[in-house]
């Protein structure tokens, strides 16, 4: 009871902060009732591929003319694959059979063979591809760019800034992400939900999950993470006095308030104390849960995705029914040695997603969760000898029971590098679909109404399709 009151108070205080900082959400709170649908349970899971995914080595052309164009554009990459099993040759690919094949004329596509588990999800209708997504302010073509006739997102091609832009629609330094905004909308609509467990990362703090109400919580990939010295009597002493000292130490660690007015001290106090309290709640719920039987690969991405499924499983005990997760996977900055490193990464990714799908099915949440990929940027179609450099647009994948799958959404530009969809030098893909359209489709499914989406995604109105239609 007292807890609920406190949460209400926190929520209201945050709304006040928003208004005072002239946030759009804040001003809206005065004019209308928040309408995010928070019925049932739903979660979004972002798999961020840090470094910049080479879209052209992920979604491959399957028809002979298109494949010839790829070879022509990046002979060094294709030749190196010849030395490692020729995995990018048509003879070693399996064609996707999208329901909307007709949208692409005679062009056919295949996923890199390491993505086979993902191809299975695609073919069964549980996954879809969204082609050529990237940060945009407004629709853009090469001609418009060269004529300076279009506003472009700042600091294109820079890792940290484009990560930040994907996550928060602003360059590094932006404080609130669209994942956090989605969570905020749900928390404001449902103040009884616990804000401590609505925005969860498994690989470190990211602006994507930062909200005004949402607090970011990190779940480790090893399950509950107790404080040994508190958990075990042996260290401080197996006596009543030792127990009293342990309790006293525990409350010392859990302090969230300090008389010191220094802002750094205040933040450190809250960070330590908050971590202690939230870990206790998480660990208690975790230890009461039935262990998953699904086997996850023992890879960094596999362990993280297991932690996500475990956390979704205990969401009722954590008192939260709208969650956004961020899972991180590094290594995609394939300037060099791409033909060795990228296939290994893609294999881990696809195997992780397959286990994720099985795990969610095991806990009956496959229809309540949507996973999607994101990445700094795509990469240059023209190679540098044994790798590729920073690009812009890239193809992404969405998966989950509610995905209207076996389809390719957005656009997959052909490999005519002189076309309007490529920059002049190095053939960097100019996005056809903005990150905000991609996000809006996810947010709409998550429960946000059009006003909340517009508030979270400021440039959405510059595009004529606010929902890409890949979710039911």
């Amino acid at each position: 009871m007292a807890n609920i009151n406190r949460r209400r108070f926190v929520t209201n205080a945050s709304a006040l902060t928003l208004m005072s900082s002239a946030g759009i959400l804040g001003s809206m709170s005065q004019s209308r009732v928040f309408a995010a649908d928070t019925s049932g349970y739903k979660a979004l899971v972002c798999i961020f591929l840090f470094g910049g995914l080479d879209h052209a080595d992920t979604l491959l052309p399957y028809d002979a003319p298109s494949h010839a164009l790829l070879r022509n554009a990046r002979p060094a990459i294709l030749n190196r694959y010849q030395g490692t099993g020729a995995s990018r040759e048509i003879s070693n690919l399996t064609a996707l059979t999208p329901v909307n094949a007709g949208d692409f004329g005679g062009r056919q596509f295949a996923l890199a063979p390491e993505l086979d588990p993902l191809r299975a999800l695609f073919q069964s209708g549980d996954a879809a591809i969204v082609g050529n997504v990237g940060p945009l302010i407004e629709p853009t073509t090469r001609t418009l760019m060269e004529a300076n006739g279009v506003e472009l997102p700042p600091r294109l091609f820079s890792h940290n800034d484009q990560q930040s832009t994907w996550e928060s629609l602003g360059v590094e330094g932006e404080k609130i992400g669209w994942g956090g905004k989605f969570v905020d909308a749900a928390l404001i609509a449902d103040p009884s939900s616990n804000p401590a467990f609505a925005a969860i990362n498994t690989s470190g703090n990211n602006v994507f999950l930062a909200g005004n109400v949402a607090q970011q919580f990190r779940v480790g990939s090893g399950g509950a993470n107790p404080i040994q010295v508190i958990d075990q009597r042996s260290t401080i002493g197996r006596t009543n006095e030792g127990d009293a000292a342990r309790d006293s130490f525990r409350s010392f660690l859990g302090r969230t308030v300090t008389a010191d007015s220094n802002y750094f001290i205040t933040d450190a106090t809250r960070a330590i104390g908050g971590a202690i309290a939230n870990n206790d709640i998480y660990n208690a719920a975790y230890e009461n849960a039935v262990p998953l039987t699904t086997v996850f690969p023992e890879t960094r991405i596999g362990r993280q995705l297991r932690a996500v499924v475990e956390t979704i499983d205990i969401a009722p005990a954590l008192n939260v029914n709208r969650q956004v997760f961020l899972v991180g996977m590094g290594g995609y900055d394939t300037h060099s040695n791409q033909t060795n490193s990228l296939p290994a990464l893609l294999g881990e990714l696809a195997e992780g997603i397959a286990a994720f799908s099985a795990g969610l099915s095991e806990i009956n949440r496959w229809n309540d969760v949507v996973g999607f990929t994101a990445s700094d940027f795509g990469r240059t179609v023209i190679d540098n000898g044994d790798g590729t450099d920073h690009g812009w647009g890239a193809h992404h994948v969405v998966f989950g029971g509610d995905v209207i799958g076996q389809r390719i959404y957005g656009e997959v530009p052909d490999l005519d590098l002189s076309s309007e969809r490529y920059t002049e030098r190095r053939a960097r893909l100019i996005p056809s679909v903005s990150v905000e359209q991609y996000a809006a489709t996810l947010g709409s499914w998550f429960g946000l109404d059009s006003g909340e989406l517009a508030a979270a995604l400021p440039n959405l109105g510059n595009f004529n399709q606010a929902n890409l239609g890949f979710l039911s």
């Binding site: 000292a245 933040d267 106090t269 920073h390």
Partner: protein, 582 residues
């Protein structure tokens, strides 16, 4: 104004005479210009003839050692107390450096099969126990700016040590030389993929790898937007920051970093000469772009050779006015302040620009050459604001200490014995936030370091005020628990050692045990050792109350006292005042 004049006078005086003392008397504080910009002047400040950087208490000494070294023991604190911080810095500048490569080569020559990350154990050893503390601290700082993480699977210990030694060598040298040496280090070339990077090929369409060109500009030298000397962004007519380069600059600069490979007889040699893995990169004219290289408003003419192109390019980039504030602000963040006052940044940047810094007790630091890191570092550590009381109690001042600094401070405060990091399995990789500390020296996740200098933490007091707090980027629920558990293992001597008989990292708690019967006195001592006298009353009281619960009983006194001391130490290293240096 008065200060400025005095300093100009002093530089002339030093030039004319090697006798510093004479200069101090004639050009020093006698003119009544105050001692270093403190607002107090008459009351409350140091005596008129004392230098502002004079260390007047154990707490000040401990704080200084946490800033300029990796922390210190009570003996080191007492030795500094009463002296002048500037003298300490000067003596550190004169110490001989601890290099890494010679040690590893010697070990290999003795027949040791070096572990793939043998360099990393040595780094711990030097940070914890090296005598050249300021240099090693600077090496750690530089490793977070000119980043080449050893996380990669292709790391080899001698190749990596060559890169580390470039930081050691130039830590008290010039930033321009540092850039040169780092650029030619084989590990950096592998890490940022210009190793064996070939010129473009019009037949296949192949273009040079752009990786190093981009990160050199963005992360090592000028950053993305034009800066004022105080580190704030310059704004254009549209009131927006002005970007320093375009993608065309990157494409142009990328041509410079072509044609480099091992020291070898040919470009595509697999392993190069016997000493190639720890020798400077070699250029090969055939693989170097002969096209003109246009970037940042300059053009290196077509046909310029590889080495000359690199020198011209680095000279041109280094001449950019951003370099001083860009590097200075980050150095301040590594040593003293997470969100430095722009005026402080401007003072340090001025030292970088002029290559000179004069301390309040009239020691002149630096060679006078732009980019001099002695001048820059002295300006960071000896800035009057750190000593005159003007920042110590400001709510927006302080440095959140990264986990590596906190752990090593603990180790040094209790003078750990038998520092042999190779024996400690827990130190093999401390990157995991869950069961280690979430940070390992020289092992950041990417070239973007462990955290970003511009990071502002959401939902925080600092964030609300737009204060940067890079280190908060790696503070989370996992790392908080991981750190507690990790420190518990070390404090209670329950680490995972390869050979237990070596008793590595054994803390010396004898002085604390002598105070265990008096929890208040014990806590006061920990306050000096770990928090520089800045532990809050609340924290102190809770430590006293908690350890007082543990009785000291007849017959088990030694064990009981030990129990109290270790718990008190564990609590103190989890105090917010231990996390924040100010």
């Amino acid at each position: 104004m008065g200060n400025q004049f005095r300093r100009l006078g002093l530089v002339a005086c030093v030039a004319a005479s090697a006798v510093l003392a004479a200069c101090t008397q004639s050009g020093g504080d006698s003119g009544g210009t105050g001692s270093g910009g403190g607002s107090g002047g008459g009351t409350g400040g140091p005596p008129a003839n004392a230098s502002v950087t004079q260390i007047d208490s154990q707490g000040e000494a401990a704080t200084f050692l946490a800033r300029a070294a990796f922390g210190g023991s009570m003996a080191q604190i007492d030795s500094l107390n009463g002296g002048d911080a500037a003298n300490w810095v000067q003596s550190e500048f004169n110490k001989s450096p601890t290099f890494y490569l010679p040690t590893l080569i010697a070990r290999e020559q003795l027949g040791e099969d070096l572990d793939q990350r043998a360099h990393s154990r040595l780094i711990w050893d030097s940070f914890v126990a090296g005598d050249d503390q300021l240099r090693q601290r600077m090496v750690f700082a530089l490793s977070q700016i000119v980043v080449a993480s050893d996380r990669e699977s292709f790391v080899r210990p001698l190749t990596y040590a060559y890169y580390v030694d470039a930081l050691v060598e130039n830590a008290f040298g010039n930033y321009r030389d540092l850039l040169q040496d780092v650029t030619y280090s084989p590990y950096m070339s592998q890490y940022l993929t210009y190793f064996k990077n070939r010129k473009g090929d019009p037949n296949t369409g192949r273009m040079p790898d752009e990786n190093y060109a981009r990160e050199l500009l963005q992360l090592f030298t000028i950053g993305l937007v034009e800066l004022n000397m105080d580190g704030t962004p310059r704004l254009g007519p549209d009131n927006q920051p002005i970007e320093t380069y375009t993608n065309d600059d990157i494409v142009g600069l990328a041509r410079v970093f072509t044609g480099f490979s091992w020291k070898a007889d040919r470009f595509d040699s697999n392993n190069g000469d016997d000493d190639a893995e720890y020798s400077a990169l070699q250029s090969f004219a055939d693989e170097h772009s002969e096209l003109e290289k246009t970037f940042l408003g300059t053009t290196i003419p077509a046909g310029t050779g590889a080495d000359e192109s690199v020198t011209l390019a680095l000279d041109h980039i280094f001449a950019h006015p951003n370099v001083a504030p860009f590097v200075s602000r980050q150095l301040i963040q590594r040593f003293t302040a997470s969100n430095p006052d722009p005026a402080y940044v401007a003072r340090v940047a001025a030292a970088f620009e002029t290559g000179t810094f004069v301390s309040d007790n009239d020691i002149t630091f630096g060679s006078g050459a732009r980019g001099d890191l002695r001048a820059t570092l002295a300006a960071v550590l000896l800035d009057a604001s750190l000593y005159d009381g003007s920042t110590a109690n400001q709510d927006d001042f302080g440095k959140i200490r990264e986990p590596v600094l906190r752990f090593i401070h603990w180790a040094r405060a209790f003078s750990v014995q038998n520092v042999n990091s190779g024996n400690e399995r827990l130190l093999g990789d401390t990157s995991s936030p869950e069961d280690r500390i979430g940070q390992h020296p020289f092992r950041s996740p990417s070239v973007f370091n462990f955290y970003r200098p511009g990071y502002i933490a959401p939902n925080t007091e600092t964030g609300q005020r737009d204060l940067t707090a890079p280190e908060l980027q790696i503070v989370n629920a996992s790392s908080t628990i991981g750190y507690i558990n990790f420190l518990t293992d070390f404090i209670y001597e329950d680490t995972n050692q390869r050979d237990d008989t070596l008793e590595t990292y054994k803390p010396d708690f004898s002085a604390e045990i002598a105070l265990a019967d008096n929890p208040a006195a014990l806590t006061d001592r920990l306050d000096i050792l770990l928090t520089g006298g800045r532990m809050s009353d609340d924290t102190k009281q809770q430590i006293i109350d908690t350890i007082s619960l543990l009785p000291i009983e007849a017959g088990t006194e030694a064990e009981d006292r030990d129990r109290r001391v270790r718990l008190a130490a564990l609590m103190a290293v989890n105090a917010p005042s231990f996390f924040v240096l100010r």
